[in-house]
């Protein structure tokens, strides 16, 4: 048995043990869905960071910088700055006014059944999108690691899917939180080590390192990778960059699996502290993507990476070149753990939303008919969400950059979720029609624009749909986010719902003071 495989199995054994331990401790809905609301600020901060530093951040950004230099670093910047939207606008009101899901906040003022049904649909869509990217990353990674063992990309994708379902089905939120914490610590440690090795290669001279970045051999010519414009070129480059920026900055605050993290802490103050913790961890990590990405560009070069596993394998291949097979196995195990943990987090938010919002509140009018039914429905949903994303990841195949794929999930979240969250917290006139219009318009427009964009439509065999792209931008944010806001505003303006308006006072007081907020278990 090879070293990479052994390290994998070890990690999986440890995390399953944690899951088993957590499963014995968690009973009841608040425990399963929100870890009993007893997670502390720094623990939640690390868990948020763990949820966020997905395959997209580690494998994806390293790859996109290795291939397209500076333009790839824009992902790193946007993904950190995005947390200011979370911190300033949504984290505290959400903790104060909600229970388990994003839709709880909407349901306070609005008619709960249609709003929850729509929010649940949007949550499932965003989570599935995000998860496809993780599955693609996992597939390429495992296929590379087990090269020669006969396990293919498709087999690897299915294997990861099954493991993830096991985590969520048996452990719930507490197990997922602890898996995130362990993985975040490992990921940061691995990234620091890899960064040091890159600098050692350049004799610990930043000057030498940056000099090398300005002379990268790629495709037979020398290119300055520190200059913008390798990915985002005229005539649409600037607009595409701004569109991506909008999706990143406003998408994080609409990501269901990040938002549910704020329900695992005792109060709004702890939610705030955990965001700040997460920002320092995530920021430090993203600054180090400079070393991972540009290190892979200068030391390996894109031609080598393309021939040895593809764009998403830049960071693991860099580890192999700098420190050999054992370090390669170590970095790969971390990447694998990262994916597993993120997928578990995504599945739990998607299945929570379905069980809590759709099943209990929409179909059964907010009552559990039998104790434990909600948790059981969540477990069944986890199986289905896993199966759908495995299917789509296999269909897409291993060539898509995973940071780019996740960027699309952010665009959907920013367009469908953020407008209605912001309006329902801050706008007295907002109502049910506005929420439904906003979510529907954001969801449909972002999805349609992605399908007719240059990444899906094109004139050669690498594209899923043949034909000239109907929409010129890679990322739909600049069109679909304003559309989401506009539709929410129009829907609310064209209808009248006195009840929603009269309940604004309750929303405002709850969101700002924490009066009547869900309390931690055991207090």
């Amino acid at each position: 048995m090879s070293t990479p495989l052994l390290m994998f199995l070890l990690f999986i054994a440890v995390t399953l043990a944690i899951t088993w331990w957590a499963a014995r401790r968690s009973t009841g809905s608040a425990a399963y869905f929100a870890a009993g609301r007893n997670i502390t600020g720094w623990q939640n901060g690390i868990a948020v960071a763990g949820d966020y530093m997905s395959a997209a951040s580690f494998l994806g950004i390293a790859g996109i910088i290795a291939f397209q230099g500076y333009d790839g670093f824009m992902y790193s910047v946007g993904w950190l700055v995005a947390y200011l939207t979370v911190l300033l606008v949504v984290a505290e009101p959400l903790r104060n006014a909600g229970k388990y899901t994003m839709a709880d906040v909407l349901a306070y003022r609005l008619r709960p059944r249609p709003v929850r049904a729509m929010a649940s649909l949007s949550t499932l869509t965003v989570s599935t999108f995000y998860m496809i990217a993780q599955m693609v990353g996992a597939g390429t990674l495992v296929a590379l690691l087990l090269k020669g063992s006969g396990i293919s990309y498709n087999g690897a994708v299915a294997g990861v899917g099954i493991l993830m379902v096991a985590y969520v089905v048996f452990g719930g939120m507490l197990a997922t939180t602890w898996v995130q914490i362990i993985k975040a610590v490992l990921l940061i440690a691995g990234t620091i080590l890899l960064s040091i090795l890159v600098m050692a290669h350049f004799h610990f001279s930043l000057g030498e390192f940056f000099d090398a970045i300005t002379h990268v051999q790629s495709g037979g010519k020398v290119t300055n990778f520190l200059e913008p414009g390798l990915r985002y070129k005229p005539p649409y480059g600037a607009i595409d960059l701004i569109s991506l920026g909008l999706a990143l900055i406003f998408g994080t605050a609409g990501l269901p699996h990040i938002l549910v993290r704020f329900y695992t802490v005792p109060d709004a103050r702890t939610a705030r502290i955990s965001v700040v913790w997460a920002m320092f961890i995530i920021g430090a990590f993203y600054i180090m993507t400079t070393f991972l990405g540009f290190g892979a560009a200068t030391i390996l070069g894109s031609d080598y990476i393309r021939g040895h596993g593809g764009i998403n394998m830049s960071a693991p291949l860099l580890a192999q070149r700098l420190a050999g097979d054992v370090f390669f196995a170590f970095i790969s195990s971390i990447a694998f753990a990262t994916i597993l943990a993120v997928v578990a987090g995504l599945t739990i938010s998607a299945s929570t939303s379905f069980a809590h919002d759709f099943f209990t509140n929409v179909i059964h009018h907010g009552r559990e008919r039998r104790p434990g039914e909600e948790v059981r429905v969540a477990r069944i949903t986890a199986f289905f969400v896993g199966a759908v994303s495995i299917g789509i990841a296999v269909l897409l195949g291993p060539t898509f950059n995973v940071a780019f794929l996740v960027g699309l999930a952010f665009a959907v979240a920013a367009s469908a979720n953020l407008p209605v969250i912001v309006f329902s917290i801050f706008w007295p006139r907002f109502n049910t029609a506005g929420a439904l219009w906003g979510q529907a318009a954001g969801l449909v427009s972002s999805l349609v624009l992605i399908v007719i964009s240059p990444s899906i439509m094109g004139n050669d065999a690498t594209h899923l749909i043949r034909g000239t792209p109907l929409f010129p931008l890679e990322n739909p944010g600049i069109v679909s986010i304003p559309l989401g806001f506009l539709a929410a505003w129009l829907g609310a303006g064209l209808s009248s719902e006195p009840e929603a308006e009269s309940k604004f006072a309750e929303m405002e007081v709850r969101a700002n003071t924490g009066l009547g907020a869900e309390q931690a278990a055991g207090h």
């Binding site: 824009m74 911190l87 300033l88 520190l226 200059e227 414009g229 985002y232 006072a505 003071t513």
Partner: protein, 105 residues
């Protein structure tokens, strides 16, 4: 945190001068902070896209303005987060007073 009060009178609390002051104080910090960070952030893709010559200018050895401005975003985000944490401690104080007043009534 406040102990659970049976059905608080939300409308009345929402009209209390202390509560309006809390909302106003939060707005006075959050709105300018939000506008500032958005302007600072979106200047990056705008400059990179529309003023590439300026952004290619080398500042420290081979390191250009584009990279330095991108790097500065991290420190900007951390600064805003720290400033907000300090402001929010003040808001927490106002909330505490407000809640104790409501319970006395």
């Amino acid at each position: 945190m406040a102990s659970p009060i049976p059905a608080p009178d939300w409308q009345r609390i929402a009209r209390l001068p202390e509560f309006r002051e809390l909302i106003a104080a939060k707005r006075r910090f959050i709105v300018p902070a939000f506008v500032f960070f958005c302007a600072y952030y979106f200047a990056l893709p705008a400059l990179v896209g529309w003023a590439p010559a300026l952004m290619r200018r080398r500042v420290i050895g081979p390191v250009n303005l584009a990279y330095l401005y991108a790097l500065s975003q991290f420190f900007m985000a951390w600064m805003v987060a720290i400033l907000y944490t300090r402001a929010a401690a003040r808001f927490d104080g106002i909330v505490k007073e407000l809640l104790s007043r409501i319970q006395k009534d």
